[in-house]
């Protein structure tokens, strides 16, 4: 009994004392620990007093952050990285496609036929699953294997933190972190990798913003779609000698619209749903150092390229099966795909697209790379064009842009379809690889759903508005 009374008195005294010392004692503790450490360091560590005549780091820093040279250097470097990626990946991509799609695929088919595999089994496995995986590997691997190592080298050298430092002013205004400039650039390579890269942002609110808005960076898998559609539909509206510039301008316009959307959405998120998340800012600017080339190559290939590629393959496999099945399962004389396309076509027209595009975006969710092959296959299927492609359920691409153009025009595509497809390709749900990565990174169903449905809602609204204005004015 006496003990209990004593305890209570002690607790009461403790409470009173806590009020007296207030909330600041945590600070005081940190300060005293720091002071002790500083004192020990002062005794134990000796410094070289002589300052070097020429401070290399500071000189580089003052050049790359100077008001005149800062941005030109940054744009030149980034443009250079993209140029090397696009130019450098054309050859290996074509090579991989010629092996995996043009050689191995027919060989597998021939083999399956020789051992009398049933039509549906070789269709599901070889025309569906295998072809989808082959496509993803051929289109995805080379640009990623070039882009990520270069990016990692710039990071290792110490330049990328300076980009974040220069860009922070813009991102601060929309409630985000300057490092989002880096995750966004990474997103131009691959959104899944961009989402993983958001780990470099340690403040919870800013990290979520970077993850959710990464999808607005036009990724590797969407550039070819943009370029193809711009060439066929937008370039064609200009005089022949200007066609190239006009279509390139349209693609750049879409990419810039993506950056703009990511800023607007960041601003919106930081002021609404993400208000409740903690936010803190500090940006470490490590000293420059010669990049460790081999180590960087190794980690960027293993951690980023193969990691993302593996996830994409895992998702492409079932999607390939679904793509083949919807084109080959028949209900009442028509393929499931045809029924769905007929059914959704009116809605597609309402937003300037068509049923084929809607279905392609649903079943090609694992990778944006296979959207165009799926669109071509479905267009041939529903408009009964003969003599092109590999049959129903077999994705294909054509070597010449003219041939592709004639198929799309035969499928009823117009300039409006082209414009709306370019917009929708930018503003739609992330691919399933990215969605899964977002879930893994945030551990939250809520943020995953928001990242998935916010862009698609924006895409529907934008396409609807464009289409309705078009119908009104044209």
């Amino acid at each position: 009994m006496n003990d209990k009374k004593n305890t209570n008195e002690i607790l009461k005294l403790a409470d009173e004392l806590r009020w007296e010392i207030g909330n600041d004692f945590h600070d005081a503790l940190a300060e005293s620990i720091h002071a002790d450490a500083a004192q020990i360091a002062a005794v134990a560590v000796s410094y070289d007093d002589k300052k070097p005549q020429f401070d290399m780091d500071r000189t580089i820093d003052r050049i790359v952050t100077s008001p005149w040279l800062g941005f030109p250097i940054m744009f030149l470097l980034l443009a250079g990285v993209f140029w090397v990626t696009i130019e450098g990946s054309n050859i290996p991509s074509g090579y991989l496609a010629s092996i995996l799609v043009d050689t191995v695929h027919p060989a597998l088919k021939a083999f399956a036929d020789s051992i009398n595999t049933p039509f549906w089994l070789s269709g599901v496995l070889i025309d569906g699953a295998y072809l989808a995986m082959a496509w993803v590997i051929a289109v995805m691997l080379p640009p990623m294997a070039i882009f990520f190592p270069i990016f990692s080298l710039l990071e290792d050298f110490g330049y990328l933190p300076r980009v974040a430092f220069n860009m922070d002013n813009l991102y601060r205004r929309v409630g985000a972190h300057g490092k989002q400039a880096l995750t966004m650039s990474m997103g131009f390579g691959c959104n899944a990798a961009g989402v993983v890269a958001a780990r470099i942002i340690d403040s919870p609110r800013e990290r979520l913003i970077a993850i959710i808005t990464n999808n607005f960076s036009l990724c590797n898998g969407r550039w070819p779609t943009q370029i193809l559609i711009a060439t066929i539909f937008i370039g064609a509206t200009a005089p022949a000698h200007l066609a190239g510039i006009v279509s390139a301008g349209a693609v750049v316009g879409v990419a810039v619209l993506g950056i703009f959307s990511s800023l607007v959405v960041s601003w919106f998120l930081s002021r609404t749903v993400l208000k409740g998340e903690a936010s803190a800012f500090s940006l470490e600017l490590p000293p420059y150092r010669p990049p460790r080339i081999l180590q960087t190559l190794y980690t960027s290939l293993i951690d980023r390229t193969l990691f993302v590629l593996w996830r994409a393959i895992v998702f492409a496999f079932p999607a390939g099966i679904v793509i083949w099945l919807v084109a080959n399962i028949h209900i009442g004389g028509a393929a499931v795909a045809e029924i769905f396309i007929d059914w959704t076509n009116p809605f597609g027209i309402l937003i300037g697209l068509n049923g084929v595009i809607l279905l392609a975006y649903i079943i090609a969710i694992p990778a944006n790379e296979i959207v165009i092959p799926t669109v071509l296959m479905l267009t041939v299927l529903v408009s009964s064009i003969s003599g092109v492609g590999g049959g129903s359920g077999v994705m294909f691409e054509l070597d010449s842009i003219e041939a592709t153009s004639s198929i799309l025009h035969a499928g009823g595509w117009t300039l409006l379809t082209g414009i709306c497809l370019m917009l929708f390709s930018l503003l739609h749900n992330p691919c399933s690889t990215t969605i899964y990565t977002i879930y893994k990174e945030t551990g939250s169903v809520k943020w995953t759903l928001i990242s998935t449905f916010l862009p698609i809602a924006m895409g529907l609204v934008v396409c609807f508005t464009v289409a309705q204005l078009w119908y009104l004015l044209a």
Partner: protein
């Protein structure tokens, strides 16, 4: 087309009528919790009156809760039947009522502390947010929250947070308006009601923990220095700011300089971190070595002028202007040759 319309109607009906989660069910449970909100708000109001030594009446409840006199009278009856208050000309809390009121206040202030430290919700929304939240946090959740926050003893406005047993310290505060010119003191509390006045004071950049030095007082205005910056407010507003005398060891530096005033190439010594820098951000800066006594220098400035790179403890760290403004410094020797 008709099919789609029918589907939409069905979905809408489901949303409204679905048991437990539909909006009708939500309305019903809202009414029940509304009653709880009125009871708790009335208790808080009477407690507040007792704390401030003014008379809490049915009339004042009606005014404070923005309800009719009849409604307030019924509420008072209900509180008496619950054994929370003793009615009369002046309403008095019973021991039970006081402990209940203090529990609600504890949740309110803990939640304000949480909003200030762990979220990026702006200052002027804390109070209203906590007004709603105080009614739907259970005692267990409140204790977990308190532990998570490191058992804070003051809310961000400077109000003491009642202990679990409903205890509060004696206060020895005085309003800022009671000071004479030349007096120095420390702001310990800024009243968060009414919200319009609070928003004004926040806009002036005032927060608990600031050192004030009164320059002149008159019946129209009070002019004072807060952390070295001149502020002029009406005496009515000054009444909402409470101050306490400085502790013996506290000395007011002649002039507060902030890190933002440090030019490129200059070095300084950190003397403190503003109280307006809270939570994660405060811990981050202290982790980086922004503590009194450490050396800090302005290294280079970004292309747009914000953020600025500082060298702290040998590491180069980019900080935004807003944060640099919250770090107090004592300028050291200038490294003019290199600047």
């Amino acid at each position: 087309m008709e099919l789609i319309l029918i589907a939409i109607v069905i979905v809408l009906l489901l949303v409204i009528l679905y048991p437990k989660i539909g909006s009708l069910a939500a309305r019903k449970s809202m009414n029940a919790s509304n009653e709880r909100i009125y009871v708790e708000d009335a208790l808080k109001h009477i407690y507040d009156c007792e704390y401030k030594n003014i008379n809490g009446t049915v009339q004042s409840i009606a005014g404070n809760l923005n309800i009719s006199y009849d409604r307030a009278a019924k509420l008072a009856e209900r509180l008496e039947s619950l054994g929370m208050i003793i009615t009369g000309d002046v309403l008095r809390l019973t021991a039970e009522g006081r402990s209940y009121a203090l529990r609600v206040i504890r949740v309110h202030r803990l939640w304000e502390r949480y909003l200030a430290d762990e979220t990026s919700i702006p200052e002027k929304e804390w109070h209203l947010n906590a007004e709603l939240k105080e009614h739907d946090i259970s005692a267990i959740e409140a204790e977990a929250l308190s532990v998570q926050l490191g058992n804070p003893v003051y809310d961000p406005h400077g109000d003491p947070i009642p202990t679990v047993n409903g205890e509060l310290p004696e206060k020895n505060w005085k309003p800022l308006s009671s000071l004479q010119s030349g007096d120095v003191a420390r702001i310990v509390h800024i009243e968060d009601e009414p919200n319009t006045v609070y928003a004004q004071l926040v806009a002036e950049g005032l927060y608990p923990g600031m050192h004030v030095k009164v320059i002149e007082t008159s019946s129209e205005r009070i002019k004072f220095e807060a952390n070295g910056e001149e502020v002029i407010i009406a005496p009515l507003f000054a009444g909402n700011i409470s101050i306490a005398p400085l502790a013996e060891f506290e000395t007011i530096p002649e002039k507060y300089k902030t890190l933002l005033e440090l030019k490129r190439g200059q070095e300084a010594e950190v003397i403190g971190l503003s109280k307006a820098c809270r939570g994660t951000q405060r811990r981050r800066l202290m982790d980086l070595g922004v503590v009194p006594g450490s050396k800090i220098s302005n290294e280079f400035i970004s292309t747009w002028g914000d953020p600025i790179a500082y060298k702290i403890c040998g590491a180069t760290i980019g900080l935004r202007r807003k944060q640099a403004k919250q770090i107090f410094i004592k300028p050291g020797k200038t490294e003019s040759a290199k600047a």
